[in-house]
């Protein structure tokens, strides 16, 4: 059934897209780890989204649509391909059962934020991106599912694995730091 689009005065692309600029850039920089590449990626995202705006279905999630375009664009770059090649989620589950102070309590100290940043950078792309979407963008599971193009159940399981992996990585780093110093 055709629903005439009369509910809202048609929002222009830029009205919808420009408020997402900072978020998209931050996400792009986390994916690419490079300012110039992040800028290229964001530029490409806006370009593609503007061109494809007619095909965007009003009423669906615009933010998820934009993030999805950005992510798909990234995956076609060389860095993106490298990040996803032969990646097995199960393999990356770090052992988080070691004893000692919990990473969470240590992260409360400002000085340890740098360790968290490094850990996030080292996380495999699927874990890094889902954590960013969930914690930084505060997306709902549904939005994450739309952005990543995966089922809701996969969102939950991957998020759980990502958190465990991050925790394990942090514990490793914190232990190493302690031994190292």
């Amino acid at each position: 059934m055709e629903v005439p689009d009369q509910r809202l005065p048609a929002a222009t692309f830029e009205d919808l897209a420009l408020p997402l600029f900072d978020q998209l850039y931050n996400f792009a920089h986390w994916l690419t780890q490079d300012r110039v590449e992040a800028e290229d990626l964001v530029q490409e995202t806006y370009f593609k989204a503007l061109r494809g705006f007619a095909s965007f279905q009003a009423g669906t999630n615009f933010r998820a649509w934009m993030f999805r375009i950005l992510r798909n664009s990234f995956l076609t770059t060389r860095a993106g391909l490298k990040a996803t090649v032969a990646y097995d989620e199960e393999e990356h589950e770090a052992d988080a059962s070691a004893s000692g102070p919990t990473p969470e309590s240590i992260l409360l100290e400002q000085a340890n934020r740098e360790i968290l940043r490094q850990a996030l950078e080292e996380l495999p792309l699927p874990f890094r991106e889902i954590l960013l979407l969930c914690e930084v963008e505060e997306m709902s599971y549904q939005e994450i599912a739309e952005t990543l193009g995966i089922p809701l159940g996969t969102v939950m399981s991957r998020l759980s694995r990502a958190r465990k992996a991050l925790r394990g990585l942090l514990q490793q780093k914190l232990r190493g730091e302690r031994h190292g110093v």
């Binding site: 830029e14 600029f21 931050n26 990473p103 992260l107 934020r113 914690e135 599971y141």
Partner: protein, 250 residues
């Protein structure tokens, strides 16, 4: 439910994705179970830490401007139309006000020129040894004298009962147009009355009403296609009184 089963749901709980009934059940469980509560706290702390660490990169202002510009065609057009809505009337107001201003300026310039010419004629006539060509206090003498000298005719007022006296008249020229120049006397002052055909040149554009020019008082109006000017060094009220007499006669 066992703690193990609850732990499975902790992520959804801290992410606010648990159904309300389940969430309140888990809350109730955590009030009883310190281990699960501590685990939930850890996850919230980690969420916050990641959120803080993840908000890290900011785009440069130049880059922001570049992208904004690249997607702003639509708005710029919209803006242009919105501008037109404002700009067109604004420009029209400006143009009209400039035109009005110009015509006011022209009117003023014209007024200054005509008034100073009339006062010159007035002063020149008074200074002349023969200020009038027809010397008569009788309007019935003065008026016919102009016949054949001017391409128009006019009526002059009966002055009995007024302070004014007619001294006489002469033919004069304003902007190459012949007209009547009458001289009246009030006490020791002499007042000039000029009558010109209205259609002569720019006189039509001249505003009516009293003016004060070079310390002369001047009154001007249009009547029956004729332009009247009353000029003198008497008060504006006296000028007005004579104007009224002429107007009523015309």
């Amino acid at each position: 439910m066992a703690c193990e089963a609850w732990r499975e749901k902790l992520d959804a709980y801290v992410d606010g994705e648990l159904a309300p009934s389940e969430a309140s059940a888990l809350s109730a469980h955590m009030r009883e179970c310190a281990a699960c509560a501590a685990e939930a706290l850890q996850r919230v702390q980690m969420k916050r830490a990641v959120a803080a660490a993840g908000k890290r990169y900011e785009p440069s202002a130049q880059f922001r401007a570049r992208v904004a510009k690249s997607v702003s065609t639509k708005r710029r057009w919209k803006m242009r139309w919105q501008w037109l809505v404002v700009a067109v009337p604004a420009v029209m107001v400006l143009v009209v006000s400039i035109l009005v201003n110009l015509s006011v300026q022209r009117e003023k310039a014209l007024g200054r020129r005509v008034y100073s010419e009339l006062t010159d004629l007035h002063v020149a006539a008074l200074a002349s040894a023969t200020p009038v060509d027809v010397l008569s206090t009788d309007r019935h003498t003065v008026k016919p004298w102009f016949e054949g000298k001017l391409p128009f005719t006019f009526n002059l007022p009966e002055l009995q009962g007024s302070e004014f006296t007619l001294l006489g008249g002469r033919v004069t020229y304003l902007e190459q147009t012949p007209g009547a120049h009458l001289i009246y006397q009030l006490r020791k002052h002499r007042i000039s009355v000029f009558i010109f055909p209205e259609q002569s040149g720019q006189l039509t554009q001249l505003p009516s009403g009293p003016v004060s020019a070079l310390s002369f008082n001047l009154q001007s109006w249009t009547q029956n296609g004729l332009r009247y000017f009353v000029v003198g060094d008497v008060s504006a009220d006296d000028i007005q009184a004579l104007s009224k007499l002429l107007h009523n006669a015309g």
